[in-house]
């Protein structure tokens, strides 16, 4: 097979870039070695934050493929915001690094013969899990944060299991290549590379993996320039993404859904579902609206009655799984006061149901600590005014550090369950 090499495959002179080599690949690999586990772990933590114990994480059944379950805390209040901001933000920032890393090793893809031993066949299969996994996760993630569901299958399920396939490939790859990464990084110091101009840029010495070109062209870009280009790309992505999370920097995210300016009224901050999309009529959410409160017994309250109960104000962020977030000043009745009113002062959990009945988030269960946190509210007002229809009028839940979509809007019923 080795003698019948198809054109363009194998160690040909077609690869001309003088920059390819183990050192460059290892620098990019090191960045990913540090960054990608953070993206993976924050993703898996997000699954725990959705409350798999309460049977409301998606996908529901993951076998052993999860971090140990624990009760997701309500403090610090920015915990979920940080987790998801890192997951999505760092995931986006690493895209240029992943692309550069793939560029740096692409000649090995066209290696000929395709396999010299069984071990090599297995290694190449594990690379499929690695490269397929990372590209699949990046593509589905990027499409999801922009509401483009062209792929048709369930994003949550595919993205979750895809992460495990990637992790399988990642662990093998790190295990096999870590010694080589260390040797390559020791071969040249970063400081030396940063001092070398384009005119003095030379190819790395030939390597056993065949990353270094056999017949390199003269450098049109220095190695430091290439690193600057990748680093600059990553920095640029960071700048155009941070506005999705920091309210003051919102205009910077000018290409992302959550970078849009919504005016400056008290209710002008992003929503993830409009009242129209939820199919809620003005009649349902109008004066005839009643809150159905149940626990030891059942009672109904109208909005005026809720406003006569002790009101509490809390400045809390609301953070979406898609990585965007916003901080607002919410006021309303503490959930623990409502639990006491329902006759369950020490609830084990609570079920919140929305007027909107379609979709997986028309109801959400809350853990005991989430009901009892002093800042957990059935919010009636935001920033000193009534909630707008899109923000959940007549009443919505807001709980510190809870995934945004579980802060149910247009609440119809609250059921407190005793321990």
């Amino acid at each position: 097979m080795a003698r019948h090499r198809p054109p363009g495959l194998g160690r040909t002179r077609a690869w001309r870039s003088p920059l390819r080599g183990p050192w460059l690949t290892s620098v990019l690999g090191l960045v990913l070695l540090v960054g990608l586990p953070v993206v993976a772990v924050t993703g898996l933590l997000s699954y725990v934050a959705y409350g798999p114990q309460l049977n409301q994480a998606i996908p529901a059944d993951v076998g052993w493929l999860h971090l140990p379950f624990f009760e997701w805390p309500t403090r610090p209040v920015w915990l979920y915001r940080l987790n998801q901001g890192l997951h999505v933000g760092l995931g986006l920032v690493l895209v240029p690094v992943v692309l550069a890393k793939l560029w740096s090793v692409v000649p090995t893809l066209f290696d000929w013969p395709p396999a010299r031993s069984l071990a090599q066949v297995l290694e190449r299969l594990s690379l499929l899990a690695l490269v397929g996994g990372i590209l699949f996760e990046l593509v589905t993630g990027v499409l999801n944060i922009q509401y483009d569901y062209v792929f048709g299958f369930s994003f949550y399920t595919a993205h979750y299991f895809g992460a495990w396939v990637f992790l399988a490939g990642f662990v093998v790859h790190v295990g096999l290549k870590l010694p080589r990464l260390v040797t390559a990084l020791r071969s040249v110091s970063l400081r030396e590379v940063l001092r070398t101009s384009r005119a003095d840029t030379r190819p790395e010495p030939p390597d056993p993996d065949g990353l270094v070109a056999l017949d390199p062209a003269p450098a049109t870009l220095s190695r430091r320039g290439a690193l600057g280009l990748v680093g600059g790309g990553a920095a640029l992505v960071a700048v155009v993404s941070v506005g999705q999370t920091v309210d003051a920097l919102r205009p910077l995210a000018f290409l992302l859904p959550r970078g849009r300016d919504l005016g400056d009224g008290p209710n002008d901050f992003p929503v993830n579902r409009t009242v129209t999309a939820a199919g809620i009529s003005t009649d349902q959410a109008g004066p005839s609206w009643r809150l159905e409160l149940s626990g030891a017994g059942t009672r109904t309250l109208d909005r005026a009655q809720l406003l006569t109960l002790p009101q509490h104000t809390a400045v809390l962020p609301i953070a979406c799984v898609e990585g965007w977030s916003t901080t607002q000043r919410w006021s309303g009745v503490r959930l623990r006061d409502l639990a006491a009113l329902a006759g369950v002062a020490d609830p084990a959990s609570a079920l919140v149901q929305s007027l909107g009945t379609s979709g997986p988030f028309s109801q959400a269960a809350l853990q005991a600590n989430q009901v009892l946190d002093p800042d957990s509210l059935l919010a009636l007002r935001v920033n000193g005014v009534e909630l707008s229809a899109d923000h959940g009028y007549p009443a919505r839940v807001i709980v510190p550090a809870l995934p945004g979509v579980h802060n149910t809007k247009w609440v119809r019923a609250l059921e407190f369950r005793a321990a």
Binding site: R16, D61, G63, W64, L65, V95, P96, L102, W103, V106, L109, L122, E123, S126, L128, A129, V131, G132, L135, F136, T140, V142, L143, Q146, Y147, D148, Y149, V150, F151, G152, F153, T157, F161, G162, W164, V165, A168, G169, V171, V172, G175, T220, L221, G225, L229, G233, L236, V240, F254, L255, L256, P257, R260, V271, N272, R273, T274, T276, A277, D390
Partner: protein
């Protein structure tokens, strides 16, 4: 390594093999997207940008060859590469808004349309190309004063 293959096998059993394949619309299958991502990157995206870059380098060399008497003091190639890469990266990451894909879901989630994104991306592209041209002009100016002192 065996543990890793066992893990992939376990992922498939938990996910169920049926979930990998969509009988009605084949291209909306998890498997197709998983392998498709690799094929699309390795056999389409990579060759395209490699070809584009090589054409740029040889193209610029050919253009320069027409004026043999005037050697270029500052190579222009990176002043084209950088803005193209910036604009391309922005498109690669944010194309759903730019080409208005998923408009229905976008409207349901945000209450807005994706109408401004194409203009914003074009504007940003124009700005980076403009900045790059200015930087090039600056470098050429510097190179000239360095080489021709006293003039």
């Amino acid at each position: 390594m065996l543990a890793s293959f066992a893990l992939v096998g376990y992922v498939i059993t938990v996910l169920t093999p049926e979930a990998l394949w969509n009988r009605e619309t084949w291209w909306q299958s998890v498997l197709v997207w998983f392998l498709g991502a690799v094929v699309l990157h390795d056999l389409l995206l990579f060759p395209l940008y490699a070809l584009a870059d090589r054409s740029l380098v040889t193209g610029l060399r050919a253009v320069r060859g027409r004026w043999p008497g005037r050697p270029l003091r500052v190579p222009v190639v990176n002043y084209v590469r950088v803005p193209v890469l910036v604009s391309g990266l922005a498109f690669l990451l944010f194309f759903p808004g730019i080409v208005e894909q998923g408009a229905q879901t976008y409207l349901a989630a945000t209450g807005q349309t994706q109408q401004p994104f194409l203009r914003r991306w074009l504007l940003a592209t124009a700005v980076v190309f403009g900045l790059s041209a200015l930087a090039y002009a600056g470098r050429v100016g510097l190179a000239r004063t360095d080489e021709e002192p006293g003039r």
